[in-house]
Subunit: 319 residues, 2 copies
């Protein structure tokens, strides 16, 4: 199968690239503007003759359409992933998420490609009333521009499935951790501790509960769904059935690093406007397909710390 | 109160304009590109010195921002309302609904205006599993580009409410009928019968069930919500607690016109791709505020026929 991966030089995209290339029958075309994606993440892939890298932007519909030619399945992972800055740059989510997804769908239509996998987010549930939150939770009210833009993408994709005969795989992620992870709590904490190992400043009260999934478990979950379901629109929560407090992950990080920083907390229950105090997804649906995570949250955090210690260059750039 | 109404020269917008101007304390600024809106609908308003018409497009953010200056409440009714053509022009819904709504929100933010009323649609429920469908129905899967774009707008508006302290009123309409109605089943049927009173061609099998609301009842419902609720995000279904089949409305129309055309049906259960066979909303929430419709569906249809007979010029233009 010839796969096209937008954002294929990013955290999720490059992990999927390597995972797909590990199967000899697959070819992968990565389309990435290399703004947050990094060539280093494609180091292995670039040695493979079943791999092609095309530098391009999802805002450029003609280039995107040309690049997609001959592919059979699109993983659309390119996105503005800077969840916290939504209120400072509201146009970013609109352009890089909503309009970009429209462009991907139009490029697919022009190329006669009808299967798409999409990285959505548990943020679409807003402040969920039902926890753990199932895919068919009560119609949510959006609380962040990021979640709203991902929901807009989901809606577009589902409407294309209905209107143009696409098959859609929509994944609502919790936070993902692991190799090549370059934004979010764990990254920020380690970055701060690298600068000053004696203290750690935390947005929020540290009691925010989070459910992280290890990236390689996430890749297996995605492929399990794509290879075992065939509805017009297949929507799956991806996460683990455990959660931790931000303070727990700080404990695992500092433990692994051998540090005992002074803690400073800022803000109340929420670290930033639009942050959800708790995203914890019901994953019965994906588990019913036989998938389950191999790694616990604490193992995922420790693997992430190990990766970031071994690859200090990922901190060189502001993502 | 000084109101700003996008799409104020359209069906819903001009009815709201007249309704607000009927109260001596209100001023109204209408912003409309006059593509589907019509000057004729503002005939009365234009005589009123509390009324201002600004010709402009919601795609033009600088002009929109200038026009909004000094207003206190925004009704955002401008939209691509051509539900059926979604698959022929997918970009229209993206631009005229999603991006336009983003522009309205940004113009409000630039002007320090924090209250918005928005015309969404029952189509956001997709193929509802629960009928009548309440506002907190299970998280729906979108089935039309129109519904998907309106859901994208809802998400943006709710995220602005959370992020920027807006108060949002989101109305999920069933089909609206009445004076100045210029698209949809009843309009199409009368247009066809004007051309050839001996036969009537119907998209679908005529058994599609529809729940129409009379436009003046709709205006009262909107004002009841806006004046009696104050949550951050107020989402209300607007409709009647009855429904009819398309064939019923054909009976009322032909009865009123004194015609007995031969019927021709085309297509099956759905008139067009993405059409919902049945949109019937649970309106307990708005009724709990004391509102109820004054007119039945059949009365609304008959009033519409009377209006269209008295104003044949509305058929002059392809909307």
């Amino acid at each position: 199968m010839k796969y096209f991966i937008t954002g294929g030089a990013g955290f999720i995209g490059s992990n999927m690239t390597d995972r797909l290339l590990s199967e000899p029958e697959n070819e992968v075309v990565v389309y990435d503007n290399l703004v947050t994606g990094r060539m280093e993440f494609l180091e292995e892939a670039l040695k493979n003759d079943r791999f092609t890298l095309i530098k391009g932007d999802t805002q450029d519909l003609p280039a995107l359409t040309r690049a997609m030619k001959g592919c059979e399945f699109v993983f659309h992972f390119a996105a503005n992933a800077d969840v916290r800055m939504g209120c400072e740059h509201p146009r970013k989510d609109l352009e890089q998420n909503t309009i970009a997804t429209y462009n991907v769908l139009e490029a697919m239509r022009a190329n006669g490609i009808k299967r798409i996998g999409f990285s959505s987010t548990g943020s679409v549930y807003g402040e969920a009333e039902v926890i753990p939150t199932p895919e068919n939770a009560p119609f949510p009210i959006q609380t962040s521009l990021y979640g709203a833009s991902k929901l807009a993408c989901e809606g577009l994709i589902a409407a294309y499935a209905e209107g143009f005969g696409f098959t859609a795989y929509i994944f609502r992620f919790v936070s993902i951790l692991g190799e090549r992870y370059t934004h979010g709590h764990v990254f920020d904490f380690i970055k701060k501790l690298n600068n000053d190992p004696t203290k750690l400043h935390v947005l929020g009260n540290g009691k925010q509960r989070k459910s992280y999934l290890y990236v390689k478990d996430c890749m297996e979950a995605i492929l399990t769904v794509v290879r075992n379901t065939n509805e017009k629109v297949n929507i799956y929560n991806l996460g683990t059935d455990e959660y931790c407090e931000v303070n727990d992950s700080i404990g695992w990080i500092t433990g692994k690093l051998g540090l005992t920083p002074t803690m400073e907390y800022e803000g109340g229950e929420r670290g930033w406007i639009g942050d959800n105090p708790f995203i914890y997804l019901d994953t019965k649906k994906v588990r019913s397909l036989g998938w389950k995570p191999k790694y616990s949250i604490s193992e995922g955090v420790v693997k992430t710390v190990e990766y970031l210690q071994a690859n200090p260059w990922v901190f060189d750039r502001e993502d």
